[in-house]
Structure formats: C-alpha cells, structure tokens
Symmetry: C2
Amino acid sequence: MDMLWNGWGDPARATPLPDSVTALLHDLLGVKPRTTPALALGDIPVPAPTADATALAALATAVGGAQHVRTDAESRLRHTRGKSTPDLLRLRAGDTTDVPQAVVLPETHDEVLAVLGACATHGLAVVPFGGGTSVVGGLAPEHAAFVALDLRRMSGLLDLDPVSRTAVLQPGLRAPEAEALLAEHGFTLGHFPQSFEWATIGGFAAARSSGQASAGYGRFDEMVLGLTLATPEGTVETGRAPRSAAGPDLRQLILGSEGAFGVITSVTVRIRPVPEVRVYEGWRFASFEAGATALRRLAQDGPRPTVLRLSDETETLIGLAQPDAIGNDLTRGDAGCTAVVGYEGTPEDTAHRRERAAAVLTDCGGTLLGTEPGERWAHGRYNAPYLRDALLDVGAFAETLETAAFWSRVPELYGAVRTALTDTLTQAGTPPLVMCHISHVYENGASLYFTVVSAQGEDPVAHWEPAKHAANEAVLAAGGTISHHHGVGTDHRDWYVREAGPLGIAALRAVKGALDPAGLLSPGVLLPTD
Amino acid sequence: MDMLWNGWGDPARATPLPDSVTALLHDLLGVKPRTTPALALGDIPVPAPTADATALAALATAVGGAQHVRTDAESRLRHTRGKSTPDLLRLRAGDTTDVPQAVVLPETHDEVLAVLGACATHGLAVVPFGGGTSVVGGLAPEHAAFVALDLRRMSGLLDLDPVSRTAVLQPGLRAPEAEALLAEHGFTLGHFPQSFEWATIGGFAAARSSGQASAGYGRFDEMVLGLTLATPEGTVETGRAPRSAAGPDLRQLILGSEGAFGVITSVTVRIRPVPEVRVYEGWRFASFEAGATALRRLAQDGPRPTVLRLSDETETLIGLAQPDAIGNDLTRGDAGCTAVVGYEGTPEDTAHRRERAAAVLTDCGGTLLGTEPGERWAHGRYNAPYLRDALLDVGAFAETLETAAFWSRVPELYGAVRTALTDTLTQAGTPPLVMCHISHVYENGASLYFTVVSAQGEDPVAHWEPAKHAANEAVLAAGGTISHHHGVGTDHRDWYVREAGPLGIAALRAVKGALDPAGLLSPGVLLPTD
C-alpha cells in the first residue's frame, strides 16, 4: 500500500475532525476554512523529466530493467519531499519544484553502487528514499536533476543471530515488517517512533531516529551495531564488535549522515526478546516542572521505565492525543500535567520496576491515574499525523519541532522556544496554541517536543517560516541542539552549521569529499553545497 | 610524583617476585636470568635536540615561559614511548629512538593552540602526552622531530552540574585526582581501568578507554558528553545535549582519534553519585564456556552487575592477580574458572541485583566462593603492571593484548588467538603460558584479554613480534576487532587499516586533512602517513 500522497498514512484511516473541534479552533484560534482546497493528484501538472533517454537506460541497466525505473507523474509526485507541514502544504498547492527525474528501485547493494555510477556519468544527483517520512526537508536536495533511490525492494531480514542477539536488516524494510520478521524468531527491535508504520530501517539509521520506548530500548543509533554504506567511491563496512577502541566509531559517522555520505544498504541491529508483559499507566503532576523532576529522577537513579513521557499543562489540557476528546478538559483549569509511564519485559522485572518507579513518582508528587490513560495513549500512539491532516483540511496550521539539552538547561529552553513561537505567530496575527512534551530522557538531559497549532496565514508556508526561524534561534541561544530526533535535512542546515561550528563542518565536508567527491548524494542535505 | 621511567608506577611499590615463582618460571617455561641488565637512567646517552633555539623560544612564548619547555635528557626520556612491554624493553636497553625534542607544558586551551602554531612554523610534530600509559605505540610517531605536549598543567575540574550530573574536566587530570575532586561533591566517574592510578582524562577519551567497572558504568566513550579539541586549524566544540540527531556524532569522531586529529583540552563527562555500597564476590564455573554463558545471560537479561570478569582455566590456575600465591593452585587440575562479580550502588539496589544475579549464576552452574576472592581482586586490581616489571626483571617476557567480538564469535576468537600465540612462541623455542579473561560484556558481545608469559628470546622485542603479528592476524580472521580498549597507536595500525577498510580510512584521513593539513599531530599514529 502507498502512503497518502499529500498527507499521512493509510488513506482509509483519514479521520475528519469532529465539528465541535472545528468550532473550537475557530473560537480559540480564529481558524477559518481554506479558500483554496488541496489539488487532486491528477490535477497537478508535472514537468517531463529532463534526464535524457541514455541516462534513463543506464539507470535501467543498473537495476536490472526499465520496470524498476519509474518516470510517470504519480510515482515522481509520490517521491517529492517528505512529510513536514510545509511539504504537505506545497504539494496541496501543486508546487512541483523538488520533483525527482525518476524513481529508481535497486534490489541489491551492487545495484545501488551501479546506480551511483550511472548517476555520476550522467550528472544526476541521488536522494536515498526509504519511507519518505522526513520532516526536515531531507528529500529536497539543492539540485535540479536528481533521482529518488527508493529502497523498497531491499526489505529482507538477512541474518539473525539468537546468541549474539543481532539481526541484519535491509534498509527498505518498514518498521512493522521488521518487527513481524523478528517476531517469528521471538525478538523485537523495540523501535517505535511516531513514523513507525511507514518509516524504514535505513531511514532510522540515516536520521538518528529515536522511538517512543527509548527509555527502555534506547535510540535507534544505540541499537545499530554495524552498517554497510554504498558510496560513489565504493563500500564502507563497519561493526566487528559491539564496542571497540579501534579508532573513531565509523558507525557514528554514518548514523546521522542523512544520505549525504552514501546509501545505507544494510544495518546490523541489536534485538531483544519480545516482552511478555506490556503495561502503560498515567500519572498526574501539579506542574511540568514537578513532572520533569520525576522523570529526571527515574532517568538518573532508576528504575528505568520502558516508556516515559510527560505533557506540559497546555498539551494535557488539550488532550492532543485523543481527537474525539479534544477540548473536553478545557473547563478544568487544574488538569496539571499528565505523564505516560510504560513497562515492558518479563512479569517479574516489570512488576519490580513498576513498584519501585511508583514510589519515586509518588515521592515527586505524582498521582497514579491507573492504566486507562496509558492504554489510551498506546492505542493512539501513531495517530497524531492523521490528526494533522484533519487540521490542515479545516484550515488550521499544525506543525511540530523538537530539541534536547542537559537537564539544567531544559527549563530555560522550554520557555525560550514557547515564547519564540507564541510571540512570532501572535505578532503575525495568528496566536497559536503551543504544546510540549518530554518523550526521551537520559541521565544527563531530555528532549522537548513542541506542537504548534494556529490559524493558517494567507500563504501558510511563508507564514510559518519566521516562527520556525525564531524557534531555531531560541534553541541555539538556550543551549539546545537543533534536533533531537528529526534530523537536519535542508530545513535545519543553517542552524546545524552553527551548532557544529566551522571546523566541525569542515571535517564532515572532508568526509563527504572522500566518499562522494562529485557531490552526487543529497546535495545540500545536512551540509551546504558551497 | 613521576612514574618509574622504564617500568610501571610508583617505584616504591615495586615488588620482586618470590623465589618460588622465579623457580616455577624456570621449571615451567625455561625462564633464565637476563645477561644484559636494564640500563640506569643516567647511563643512557640522549642525543641533543635538533630543534633550534628559535623553535624552542617560540615554544616558550606559546606556553608562557622557558620553564615550561623542558629539553633535559631525563624529561625527554620520561616522555619516550609508552608502557607496552616492547616499550619498556627498548628503554631498558637504552634505545633512544623516539625521544622527543622537548617536553612542552601548556596551561590553557589557547596555549595549546599557540604550541600547535609554533610547531607548524618550525616543522615540529606534536604528540599529546597524558599519563604516558599507551601500550600500543601511541607516543612514538613517525617523525624525527616532535615535541611531547604534556598536559599535566591542565588538571582542573572546571565545572560540575549536579542537576544534569555532568562535570567538565581538563585533560591532564589523572583519574585518582579526578575521582577526588568529584568525591568532594559526592560524585564519581566510575572509570577504573588497570591504568587508573596514572592515566589521564584526555588519554581515556583519545584512546576510547574502558574500565573494570564497565558493566555498571559503561566505557569511557559512553561517559563523554562533550569535548573541546584544539587543532592546527582552530577549535572544535561538541556536545549540546546527551544525544542529538543533528548530524553524525562528532564526539565519536574525536573519541579514539588518539591525538591524530587534535589535542583534547576539555572533556564533559557524565557523573554518578558515589555508591554507598561496594561488594565483590567470587564465583566458580566448571569451564570458561559455562562461565561465559553466565556472563552473557547477565549482560543480556540482567540484572547487570557493576563488575563482571571471568578468568579462563589457565588464568584461574595461575592465579595471576596474586603474586604471593602464584602456583599454589597448580596441583589442582579441577580449579575450573573463577569469576569476579561486583555490585556498587545503594544498599537496596545492590542487594536486589545481587540476589537476582546469584540466581542466574547458580542456574548457569556457578558456585559462590564468597566475597574473599572478590575483595582480593579489588585489593590487587591495579597491580598487574607491577607484576610485569618483576617478571621482566627475572628474565621472563610478559605482555597483554585484547580484542572483542559478538558473542557467537567469542569461542572461535578465543581459540584462534590462543593457538596463534602458543604455536608461534613454541616454534620459536619459548613455549608460553597464555591466559585469558573476559572483563567487558555487552548485550551483543564481549572482550577477550590475553596475558602471555614466556621466556625472553635473545632479542626479546624481535622475539615477540611474530607472536603479536600472528595474534593480530588471528583476531581479524576470527572476526574480532583489533582492539577493544587499548587502541590503535602505531602497533595496531596496519591491522586497523584492514579492519576499517580503504574507504573508512580515506574518510578518516580526510578528517585529519581538514583539521591538521600539515600532518603535525602524532604522524603515523592511528593513520598511515603516506
């Protein structure tokens, strides 16, 4: 099944907003219906590819036949940009800049190398394409003529070592398929980001993904034990041991390279037994600060739950995760902050951690709400992007952004980003709702994930830009990182360059120069082209 | 206090071997007294520096005065090579190749930058020098004229954030000093490698050190949250958050760079509360295989002890860690394998983990030996290098090497390295004792640490070389990494180049080219010079 071309997920699961919410958005935020509805797929004129027949023939040779090189308008539109709100708005408006010349579907590592060779010969850039779920412009290179290298034919489980608890996965494997293949052997990866249902193993690695169960299973980059990278200069193979002192960790140079250094063609991951027990419960705290302190205590002194999330007062009040119930809590000014705390594992271990964590949470002022809020969260955990589509449909603007910092900087970072977003959008005439949650905790810090909802401006993409710009500036000024798990892409690149510093960027450009001297790979993604 | 110039540690702690052990070495391995005793420090003719007065004056200016530039023979000899057995044997024989031109002692990051500038101007190479404990030739560059950049004046605790549990440490801080400074605030780093008493924070970071409590506290590279690197091209600053999706992890590019990319001038580390309880106990297993399975179960399914080590049959039989008792167990053919299992933390947590781990260890066939063997290990945990000096003094050869692999490859790797060492040294007429332990475990694999004792050959450095070569070949062939925690240096470089592959090496050389275009920094260490 293909994803909804100009929105999220399975078109059959699209759910319109209840009228009550639409009315609320109007009353609260001044949201008005769009006067320019989204274009239909067939109504968008896609310019013919400029790549000549020789180039397309070379690509066909590289991937074993013309049937694996698609140049039709629909295929190309379906590989245009990613799933950020500006990406969707541009597609809905029929903006066909960033359309690839062709979609190329290799089946093997060697075919990927051959595609890179053909592209080098014919002056085409290459953008690796997994689930297409980038929300940072990672699929929109600075190059007029590029091919989307769709990895869906490379979607196997190549090896599973139950003693070492490792598995070798191909990059185009979507997360649910990976989980299903591992489950046949009694294992799980434990990586459940919001993009879970559509994103791929290669994409998780390229973008340093982090999932909703990161407290228990770690980030995706912590799960990766080995990588194979196809580059225009050949192949890089990494990972002979879980850890090594043999030089810098090359895995950590490939993780986060976002397609700019090469195409990830296999990923060796850590796997764990499928948990016997999964339990998610809700906790209430009087304030975001009190809840954050509780999360910090668990992250630092344990026991570590598997899932640990805390919504701020606004997000709690809105009840973002349940479209049916949005606004139900608005009359209760004392809703406080809700946390979801989950445990997965053996019955004994789960019970022990749960009991001890409950003591810590209670000691920090938390009140147990039972399992109902936790189960409700678990049930709807992948639905937020569907909600965004529904919001866009009724003329609202909705977008997310995220960062992370050391614990002592988290309060300032939280305030700075909220203020930047609120002030900018209010001054632009569209006062927003800004909600936030902590969903990834570490001993030394945490992530902050913001959701912004407002009325759309006349040109909603341009309207959002100053707010996003102000948020990015606030992140850097308050000591945060420009992204905790979405990545850099093209959207965050200018701030990333400042975060990494000129010499850090020079080092990474040198790496790119060694692996991709002609600059074929995702030009302008992660690193500037000039 | 300075370390013993041609051996290990505090000269006052040197302990000769008991006569019974010397006799045993003779009977078992044919060890005979050396006919060429070690030279005294004053008897070694050190060639005068070739660096001219202008260069030395520039260095003096860079570090605030000529008193911080040492050119006397003793200072230079004390900064010659590291502490591998070949290093010590060469010094004992009066080999003054690899002597630095001068020892330069900067006090600040800016002074380090200034030294790099002066060295660039005057064509001098630079080798960062922390505790001088490299055992892989990391202090012996391929450059006739180099200065040792001794970081001992940069030994402060710059910042401590008790909320985030982070501390900023200077690179020249020795581990015991760092622990003392942190303990004033109730914190510990938890990094206790065998080199603990002498090695420095900067060295741990540069070489990807791993300590004896790595099961509980992690490797040093896992403790590092931020780094400042001084390079000939300027400064790299990393680490705005514990984890980030903002590009490849630059920290992991600096960790393990072994002085070849720059000089680490500050390290932000994760710190933890000083444990209230420390308990170490011994366990006995019938075989190395049975013990390894027990370690794997704890590493994979928990609970995770803080210290987890397992000696193979030979190491258990010899009782390597207790020179007084060496050989006492030799009559007992059924000694099996001894494991040391340690727990540190709060009383409650320690008791709980200990109880549950005991169930797993028992289930795997382990027999509890009580705390005596554990406490004995803890008491002597930093003594092995002293024992080596005593062995060298009586004419024995003793050296260690280590590797790591995924669990399923550990048995083959163990056998392959043992066989390579045993066969090569036996064929050379000096049949060795080869002992091994597992001392670092991960969910997906473990390290193997080998100790070799034999008679010295006529030229003991040359005699060892084929055995080390064969061991390295065995490591690569059996799928291990060329080093789990000693590093690459110059000794492992040729095998590291094969492990990382031509394109991996090309990427790292590109990084070096960006940060150190003139190749001033530790030339030939980690990466080849041509």
